[in-house]
């Protein structure tokens, strides 16, 4: 385990003030104050985002990119403004490189269909890692099956770190694509993606990063990373469900075939020939989740105002504290001890199944995730059916870590 590595301290978060923005954090669960530690599954929404959704729905709603009436223009402007905010949030070169999707899963499927089905063929190889969420495995398996391509998997070591030597050794002239997670949802490992991308690019291989767990916790700069695609979900970023983005480099997006056909993604349609619209609209068929996109825009405004560096620093502090506290508990093992970790703490309690842990912690108001976290290859790697996972957000406190620790002691008491 690594000691905290704070060098220059970014500005301290006023966590109590931040918590006041989140109505749900005032809730009781069965008479106990809610201790929400399932942020890697979905994080909570501040009043600012809720208010933005209400404002859109009560004063701005209309379909976009269509009519000339005022509401449609207002809605279109708000939707495109949200795209601009997202582009700025990840430092995309151009707004049209940001495609609204329903979430990370759809973003990855878009790349599989739009890029994979066009450019990957029989005998080609796709590199994934052991740490992938099922949503970054299954689409590629479907593609491999359809095309006769092969999936190669980067192994991890016992701490949950990707083995970079093994990654580099997987490359050969048939390697056509790399799809890896930026941060592991099951273990929290932050992967050395910048070096991985550089290695792939030196061989002409494009790279997709699954940023579902990274975007909420780290400042993302897609130009600095150099990735060809970056995907994440709004609901893990204090935004609504049903929205996410796919960032793609403009030239690659332009070379791809559309994913879904329908309205908005075309310039002209006759039964003889249909001309597709330009990016990003080419990939946004049909009426998009307009409110959700605008809500996500408000969420990134909210996060940016706090500052992603300050968020990352506070979460690192929580992780270090929680790691130290859990390490002191006999019978509790932390799964995933990579040197570079996001605020995800997977653990098992000797003799107690994670599902029983989850049910009993809930009794104390503590919400954690239990199960395989949609990352069964990770569980198999550690020979576990499941773990319990506490995942922290910037609005969590060390007092909440204490509640988790007390809850774990209770579980152990029940099961002695």
């Amino acid at each position: 385990m690594n000691p905290p590595q704070s060098t220059v301290k970014p500005k301290q978060l006023d966590v109590e003030r931040i918590r006041a923005d989140f109505p749900i954090l005032k809730m009781d669960i069965g008479g106990k104050p809610l201790v929400y530690l399932d942020n890697a599954a979905s994080s909570q929404m501040p009043q600012q985002v809720i208010d933005r959704l209400v404002r859109y729905r009560s004063t701005q709603h209309a379909n976009i990119h269509r009519a000339v009436h005022t509401l449609s223009e207002v809605a279109t402007a708000a939707y495109e403004e949200a795209r601009r905010k997202l582009a700025r949030f990840i430092n995309a070169r151009e707004e049209r490189e940001v495609i609204f999707t329903s979430g990370t899963t759809e973003a990855i499927n878009l790349v599989m269909h739009g890029f994979g089905r066009k450019f990957i063929g029989a005998g080609d190889e796709i590199i994934l890692s052991t740490l992938e969420h099922h949503s970054n495995i299954v689409p590629w398996q479907m593609l491999a099956e359809e095309k006769g391509a092969t999936i190669r998997v980067v192994p991890i070591d016992n701490s949950g770190e990707l083995q970079s030597g093994a990654y580099e050794a997987l490359f050969n002239p048939r390697t056509k694509f790399v799809a890896v997670t930026h941060v592991s949802n099951a273990l929290g490992s932050i992967n050395p993606v910048k070096q991985m991308i550089a290695h792939a690019h030196a061989r002409g291989v494009p790279v997709l990063l699954d940023g579902a767990q990274a975007a909420p916790h780290l400042a993302i700069d897609v130009q600095d990373l150099g990735c060809d695609f970056y995907a994440f979900s709004g609901h893990k970023l204090c935004g609504p469900t049903g929205i996410g983005i796919l960032y793609g480099k403009a030239a690659i997006l332009e070379s791809m075939q559309p994913f879904k056909g329908g309205g908005d993604m075309i310039l002209s349609v006759t039964f003889e020939k249909t001309v597709y619209n330009a990016i990003p609209h080419k990939f946004e068929a049909g009426t998009p989740p307009i409110a959700a996109a605008i809500g996500l825009g408000a969420a990134v405004d909210y996060l940016s105002a706090i500052g992603m560096d300050a968020i990352a620093a506070h979460e690192q502090h929580l992780l270090d504290y929680a790691t130290a506290e859990l390490a002191r508990l006999a019978g509790v093992s932390i799964i995933g001890t990579a040197a570079n970790k996001a605020a995800v703490l997977s653990f098992v309690i000797a003799g107690v199944h994670p599902h029983d842990v989850g049910t009993l912690l809930n009794q104390d108001g503590v919400a954690v995730r239990t199960g395989h976290h949609c990352a069964q290859p990770v569980m198999q790697r550690f020979g576990l059916p499941a773990t319990s996972r506490a995942s922290f957000a910037f609005y969590n406190t060390t007092a909440e870590v204490d509640a988790l620790v007390a809850g774990i002691r209770n579980v152990q008491k029940v099961f002695t």
Binding site: H353, H355, L360, T370, P385, V414
Partner: protein, 182 residues
């Protein structure tokens, strides 16, 4: 009966969400903890006449059930596998309950247990044969855990009907509970 077998349970959960906050400590009663610690009839059964595997892919619970049916009677029954305390205790108590029973009586227990766990059978008012198995009645207030308690019974149903493998997520099985996720 509604066309969807889980309708009654769905309706119950959606209308009584307040009850989801019920005290789960009541669930982890000593009898359940005891069967979890010292599961009865745990292990292999040589020369079994019926076997089935039960899986709950959502939480990773896995159970192998072996039966020795002699004539019309469940003469022997054992289970193995890895699962949460609720599932293991349910399996252990199930083996105790059905051992020596006729196939018909075992099937009746399966039906009653399922009805109790999904809230369709109120053990306080309706007649039943569940005995100590009523410690699982609280499951009906924990929709995400119902499947853990039902899995062994689900698997017993499969074994008695010579289905080799069953899953809480298979759509063709009427035992399938409709909600709950990991």
């Amino acid at each position: 009966m509604h066309w969807w077998p889980g309708f009654a349970m769905f309706r119950r959960f959606s209308h009584e969400s307040q009850r989801l906050m019920a005290d789960p400590k009541a669930l982890y009663q000593e009898v359940i903890l005891d069967h979890n610690r010292k599961p009865r009839n745990f292990g292999r059964l040589d020369h079994a006449s019926h076997r089935a595997e039960g899986h709950n892919p959502l939480c990773g619970d896995h159970l192998s059930l072996a039966l020795n049916v002699e004539g019309d009677s469940v003469a022997g029954i054992t289970f193995e596998g890895e699962s949460c305390a609720i599932c293991k205790a349910s399996a252990s108590m199930m083996t105790v309950a059905v051992k020596g029973k006729t196939r018909q009586d075992a099937q009746q227990l399966i039906d009653e247990f399922r009805a109790m766990a999904t809230g369709e059978l109120d053990c306080g008012s309706a007649p039943h044969h569940l005995g100590r198995l009523t410690v699982f009645a609280g499951m009906r207030d924990l929709p995400t855990r119902v499947k853990c308690a039902i899995l062994p019974w689900h698997t017993l149903h499969a074994a008695l009907n010579s289905v080799a493998s069953t899953s809480t997520e298979s759509n063709d099985d009427p035992m399938n509970a409709p909600i709950g996720n990991a």
